[in-house]
Symmetry: C2
Subunit: 190 residues, 2 copies
DNA sequence: ATTATCTATAGATCTATAGATAATGC
DNA sequence: ATTATCTATAGATCTATAGATAATGC
């Protein structure tokens, strides 16, 4: 009960963060208004003072998930430790990333769901994917920009496909084989 | 009204086929018991004489989707026109496949959903994926079996990732760029 | 006075079940 | 007599809204 001044923004961010995590853990269908509010320490009623609809929350949560991934790289790329192609591929295809989708790449987690979403959501997500490909291309040494971009597109596709499949295989040794094999081929060949 | 002898099996297959298509078009969450029965020309009530539960239908529909894809290749591989690595990659990364998920590869359509399913469903789907990798490996010319399998894993990951992302991008030119680029790199290099 | 959040609930949707209906097969 | 399918509905779940409550800010 009770409320506060502009601490509403904190509450708003907390709701979006919870939804962003659940979105990647459970998919679009796993994001229930009541569940998200409860996990954020709130009750259902207040939800619609923050969002016009459940779809509105999904859009914000999806964008937040994309932003978090890019910010993580932008920060490391700016002041923090240098991001390298090797490090990025290594971390993306790690068991840690496979086992923690809630804080991982949203493309791997919900791309299929987004493919079925409205055009606005798809357009937003397409931009994020394009930006990620650009980022990858900038890390790849190549004769010209066109070759780097082509290689980035192949790498990005392989990363997303490999971790998606490795999550299905879960406890099966196949899961680790996929991660290790794709990592080795992406790092040792080109 | 009405019924029949072992025409029940026809009805059963029809329900599974509809579910198998909707599964790939709309994801797990898009498969409603009433919707599927209606699309099969039936009503809700009869459903539970065919399946113990909605989950039971999902398992059968998923397996049917996997079987259809393999049968398509086994048939072509046996009597029909020879399946080649080139043809397979070309068709998998075609706009036709991108735009018709309902009759396409179930891995690209619902792998993320399966990753969140119960262990039995995941184990079944893992086997299908392993079989598909074996099939791909058998089509790849390589010095030894180990190299062929590794290359098959990379190719399979890239195929699944590329078509998943291309479905998000939809009308954007990026969609076609991804399909064409990954196809060219998979076919011209290795 | 305003407003952020809460309690309570309406309305829609979905899975699953109960009982009726009508065609098959002994 | 059996059974495949249908109509009808119970019970659960989920989005969204209405009205109450209590803390902020003029």
């Amino acid at each position: 009960m009770g409320h506060s001044r502009a601490a509403k923004q904190d509450t708003h961010n907390r709701i979006v963060d919870v939804a962003s995590k659940r979105l990647r853990q459970e998919g679009f269908a796993g994001v229930g208004v009541a569940d998200v509010m409860h996990e954020a320490g709130l009750t259902v009623g207040g939800f619609y003072k923050h969002f016009a609809s459940r779809d509105d929350l999904l859009r914000e949560a999806l964008d937040a998930a994309c932003g978090a991934w890019r910010a993580q790289k932008a920060a490391a790329d700016a002041g923090g430790p240098q991001v390298s192609y090797q490090l990025l591929v290594h971390e993306y295809l790690s068991p840690a990333h496979r086992d923690n989708p809630g804080t991982g790449c949203p493309v791997a987690a919900v791309a299929a769901d987004v493919g079925r979403a409205d055009e606005g959501t798809r357009a937003l997500f397409s931009q994020r994917i394009d930006q990620n490909i650009d980022l990858l291309a900038s890390l790849i040494p190549a004769d010209d920009a066109r070759t780097a971009r082509a290689q980035a597109i192949l790498t990005y596709s392989a990363l997303v496909g490999a971790i998606t499949i490795s999550r299905v295989a879960a406890d099966d040794p196949l899961s680790r084989e996929i991660l290790d094999t794709v990592r080795d081929l992406l790092l040792k060949k080109d």
